[in-house]
């Protein structure tokens, strides 16, 4: 079973890599199989670990709230019926509305207030001033309702340099990530499959 698994993984890996030569039917087949498996996997995990314990089990146990949950599920599924499809907007409204209400204090605190607080901790040193200048100039760059002229323009320009440092660092780390994935696959092909590695 393990050997079959390794061979299947190896064949799949090579099928995907055939795209590097050019787009071809083998690559497309492998890609479709991958998407099909992923959808199946997601369905199984979602139904078995969420819908069953949260809807089916409570109903079987006679919990009235299980029925309420089931109603939301059924409303969501009206989407497939042309005439009653609009009913699916009701559960969607719950998610969108509750999500919006929950997000307001959360975003304000985590993204705005805590980030501002982090800049004002203790006695400001060199790094704190460099950082504050960066935050302020970045905000100036994303300030749209005022013409960019004079000192304001210079500040916004400084903001783009800070942004470039950030994007540059992200760029470096992203390349690092992608290469790590390639190392993982090469390690599999040469080591696990072909047994060439020490």
């Amino acid at each position: 079973m393990t050997a079959i698994g390794i061979w299947m993984a190896a064949i799949g890996t090579l099928a995907i890599y055939s795209f590097l030569y050019r787009d071809n039917p083998i690559y497309r087949a492998a890609e479709q199989i991958l998407v099909g498996l992923s959808v199946g996997y997601l369905l199984v995990i979602t139904i078995k670990t969420t819908l069953v314990p949260k809807v089916a089990t409570p109903i079987l146990a006679g919990d009235i709230w299980g029925i309420a949950a089931a109603i939301w599920v059924l409303l969501m599924w009206t989407r497939i019926l042309p005439r009653f499809g609009w009913l699916a907007r009701l559960p969607l409204a719950v998610i969108v509305g509750a999500g919006a209400g929950l997000s307001i204090p959360a975003m304000l605190k985590a993204r705005v207030l805590s980030q501002m607080g982090a800049m004002l901790r203790g006695q400001p040193g060199f790094d704190a001033w460099v950082g504050a200048l960066g935050v302020i100039s970045t905000l100036a760059y994303f300030y749209f309702t005022r013409p960019q002229k004079g000192a304001f323009k210079a500040l916004a320009r400084l903001g783009t340099w800070y942004l470039m440092i950030f994007f540059g660092a992200t760029f470096g780390y992203t390349i690092m990530s992608r290469l790590s994935l390639l190392i993982g696959r090469t390690d599999f092909l040469l080591g696990t499959w072909l047994g060439l590695l020490p």
Binding site: L20, V52, P53, Q115, Y173, L179, S180, I183, L197, P198
Partner: protein, 268 residues
């Protein structure tokens, strides 16, 4: 040969060689332990024996070669420190990956399921689930991953909410730790740390600086550093030779490409 007619498949070959060669003939480069990794190590080291940590596998299979080694090293450290582990996941693929990793490693040391570790499984709506666990884990997850009632597991009787946990670690390749910070951290004040793919490191550094994250460990390099700190040689350390040569190859390609570009532009 000009850039315009250059076949990129030659570059593909170059980069494959840059990765494969040092795997076949290892150089044996060793990583220094960076302050960030040390901070994570100290965080785990300071937890009292028997503390409960939550490991959330918030990642897709695609990035597992990169953060699997991070998760592996963290679990080994936690087991060495005799911490208890609650596993969960907010991205479907992470569910099976995490379950696999934990069953494999706990079997090696004979760590009993139910008493010393449990696996809760997957929740698709992560915000609601993160908030829900702040009220009651038993309500949020009435059953564990394999469908056993949670109340039948001794560890779950000991842990009711985040208040009973020392730390939450999100193993992530995308923005999931942000939701941990905003919802679980912001509202319930639980301590959060994260093991990230390198792509996400710059996204989360501000949260480390603002102490909304207790520690961050990033990518295969972070795993290599952690392995070194633990005194083991895992897939993170093994990948460092190839990572080095591949980086050098890319740097060289960027420089050569730019030189050719500017030289070509000067000529009419």
């Amino acid at each position: 040969m000009s850039l315009a007619t250059f076949d990129r498949r030659i570059i593909f070959g170059v980069i494959f060689l840059a990765v494969a060669a040092p795997l076949i003939v290892p150089i044996g480069l060793v990583s220094e332990v960076s302050p960030g990794t040390q901070q994570f190590y100290d965080l785990i080291e300071q937890l009292p024996e028997g503390s409960v940590i939550m490991l959330s596998f918030d990642c897709e299979a695609s990035s597992w070669p990169e953060i699997g080694p991070v998760a592996d090293a963290l679990v080994r450290h936690a087991m060495r420190r005799r911490l208890k582990i609650i596993g969960t996941s907010f991205l479907s693929e992470g569910t099976a990956l995490g379950y696999d990793l934990l069953t494999r490693l706990t079997r090696q040391t004979g760590m009993p399921y139910g008493a010393d570790w449990i696996y809760l499984g997957f929740r698709p709506q992560y915000i609601a689930a993160m908030l829900g666990m702040g009220e009651s884990i038993q309500t949020e997850f009435p059953e564990d991953y394999t469908g056993r009632p949670l109340d039948s597991l001794p560890l779950s009787r000991q842990v009711r909410t985040y208040a009973d946990m020392a730390l939450v670690v999100s193993i992530a390749d995308d923005t999931m730790p942000q939701y941990w910070i905003e919802y679980a951290g912001g509202r319930y004040g639980v301590k959060i740390a994260t093991g990230l793919s390198a792509v996400m490191v710059t996204t989360f550094t501000p949260y480390l600086d603002s102490r909304q994250l207790a520690a961050v460990i990033g990518g295969l390099k972070g795993a290599a550093e952690y392995e070194r700190r633990l005194g083991i040689r895992g897939s993170g350390s093994r990948g460092m030779d190839a990572q080095s040569t591949a980086h050098l190859a890319i740097i060289l390609l960027v420089i050569v490409g730019n030189v050719a570009y500017f030289a070509g532009r000067k000529k009419p």
